[in-house]
């Protein structure tokens, strides 16, 4: 065993979660959304703004950084902050790094937030913004290949060609997550759908239909990270950060096998840190920018053999009453798209036993993941545990 300078596992906790409503047009700035979510998370934890000594976010040039949010909330001297460039692949890295900062003593109370007007201001790969500032986009944009829906559809078809994954498998995931969202008062889309509804939804980029794609949402979500010791004295049941792991990923232009994500290499590190395995996970909130990204993660995080993610979902295993309830809030597909932080917040709700009609009975261990490493070669994930 390598000598460790820092005791990390279970030494920090998420002590509060906060949301703004999810809408299609917030009518306010991302700075306003961020402030509202930060204050809501502090209220949930029973903390005051003056308790905060750290702020962290991730963004792709589309939101308010800590250097704006801090002053806007009168936080004049933050002892730690992070403005992480990146999309969904770094959402969990932000919370992991906040936990590291707290464990190292650089800060005691860090609020991690993501504020986004993904429908009314900056649509990913759509209208309202230019092309992403990416080195690789020059080799794709001339072909009309620019949007995440197109890129993930490309990877999904590769998986379909290699393993026989079918539309019905992708559809089963969309149907299951909508059923979860029907039990979530926060969800934007709560009307149940059937497989026929899925198959009848219009093409976006074959093999993806409309119901393969996440919502485009205005909203914000925040979580409060502090020491486990301090969290025990606060208002809510603490949820411990048992593991935080980072990983690589594939480039658009260089990749040996696009059907295996960086999560496959990250997962053993993550599980080892927490001292458990996939069989110990009670609930999984997996990054679902598109249906396919969940299917490939079910394989790469070890819940089913490679290539069998589709049949695993179609078997009902990921439903609320299945072997591994997945995206109990409805996910980006049906709750709303807050770029990963709402997955972490839902895991916290489940581990506190406060998820209402969608509660997984006795949930003690949750896995929550970021985008598994496509597009931007990076990924990250957390294992959270009821204290």
């Amino acid at each position: 065993m390598p000598k460790r300078l820092l005791e990390f596992s279970d030494h920090t906790a998420i002590a509060g979660v906060g949301y703004t409503p999810f809408t299609k047009d917030s009518g306010v700035s991302t700075l306003t959304l961020a402030c509202r979510a930060v204050l809501a998370a502090l209220e949930d934890a029973g903390l005051a703004p003056d308790d905060v000594d750290g702020l962290a976010t991730h963004r792709v040039g589309d939101s308010a950084p800590p250097t704006l949010v801090g002053p806007a909330l009168g936080l004049a001297d933050l002892s730690w902050h992070l403005d992480q460039f990146g999309g969904g692949s770094v959402s969990h890295a932000v919370v992991g790094q906040a936990a590291l900062a707290v464990a190292a003593g650089l800060a005691e109370t860090v609020v991690c937030y993501r504020a986004i007007n993904a429908r009314s201001e900056f649509r990913m790969g759509g209208t309202g913004r230019g092309l992403p500032a990416s080195f690789e986009v020059q080799y794709q944009a001339p072909y009309g290949y620019v949007a995440p829906a197109q890129q993930f559809a490309m990877y999904a078809r590769a998986h379909m060609l290699r393993y026989g994954t079918r539309a019905e498998h992708l559809g089963a995931l969309a149907v299951t997550q909508r059923a979860n969202a029907a039990k979530n008062p926060r969800a934007l889309m709560r009307t149940p759908i059937t497989l026929d509804d899925y198959l009848a939804s219009r093409w976006i980029a074959e093999p993806f239909r409309l119901l393969d794609c996440c919502l485009e949402t205005d909203g914000a979500c925040a979580v409060v990270v502090t020491t486990a010791e301090r969290a025990r004295s606060l208002r809510r049941p603490p949820v411990l950060v048992s593991a935080a792991a980072w990983g690589g990923g594939t480039s658009h232009l260089s990749c040996d096998d696009p059907t295996v994500t960086a999560a496959a290499a990250l997962a053993p590190r993550l599980y080892a840190q927490a001292g458990l395995g996939p069989g110990d996970v009670d609930v999984a909130e997996l990054y679902d920018c598109f249906t396919y990204s969940v299917i490939v993660q079910l394989e790469d995080y070890g819940f089913c053999p490679k290539g069998e993610g589709g049949p695993y979902v179609a078997s009902g295993a990921t439903a609320l009453d299945g072997a591994l309830p997945v995206n109990t809030h409805g996910g980006f597909l049906s709750e709303g798209y807050v770029h990963g932080i709402n997955h972490i917040a839902e895991a916290v709700s489940q581990l506190r036993g406060e998820a209402g009609d969608r509660q997984v009975p006795g949930a003690e261990v949750a896995l929550s993941t970021a985008q598994p490493g496509y597009v931007l070669p990076a990924t990250s994930a957390l294992i959270l545990r009821r204290a």
Binding site: Y139, Y143, G144, Q150, E206
Partner: protein, 144 residues
């Protein structure tokens, strides 16, 4: 305007100039001989900087494809087919292009590159079945 235009950077400008002359070139590492794409200063295999252009046949195999049916790009008329091709010359290398055949691609089929004159200033590399003859290059022409 017919969709987005490539924005070359300091590493890639010379590559695009070659494409404009209907040449497909990759970099060959002086030290270890590894071929690489896209153009970059360093060889990822041996981490050295010296390299030369090496013209290769634009050949590969179909790894995947999509049919885009949403107007993601102003000026492009959908549907259009984008293919992901595994390059024969570069280990692990993937490239993209529009598909220049009347029938859809097949998994793993061998394809070759065909240069498409998009407009007076821009030439790009597209892909077609190895066995076919180029049929047309007017796909994805500007919408009205």
């Amino acid at each position: 305007m017919p969709g987005y235009r490539p924005e070359p950077d300091r590493d890639s400008r010379a590559w695009w100039e070659r494409v404009a002359r209907r040449e497909f070139a990759v970099q060959e590492c002086d030290a270890c001989g590894t071929l690489r794409f896209p153009p970059r200063a360093f060889c990822a295999a041996c981490r050295t900087e010296g390299w030369r252009w090496r013209e290769v046949a634009p050949e590969g195999e179909v790894e995947s494809w999509i049919v885009s049916r949403q107007p993601f790009v102003p000026g492009l008329r959908d549907p259009y087919l984008v293919v992901m091709v595994r390059l024969k010359a570069v280990p692990g290398g993937l490239v993209y292009g529009n598909w220049r055949a009347e029938r859809p691609p097949e998994a793993g089929e061998r394809v070759r590159g065909v240069f498409t004159q998009v407009d007076e200033e821009l030439i790009v590399l597209d892909w077609m079945p190895e066995s076919c003859i180029a049929i047309r290059s007017g796909e994805n022409s500007p919408a009205d």
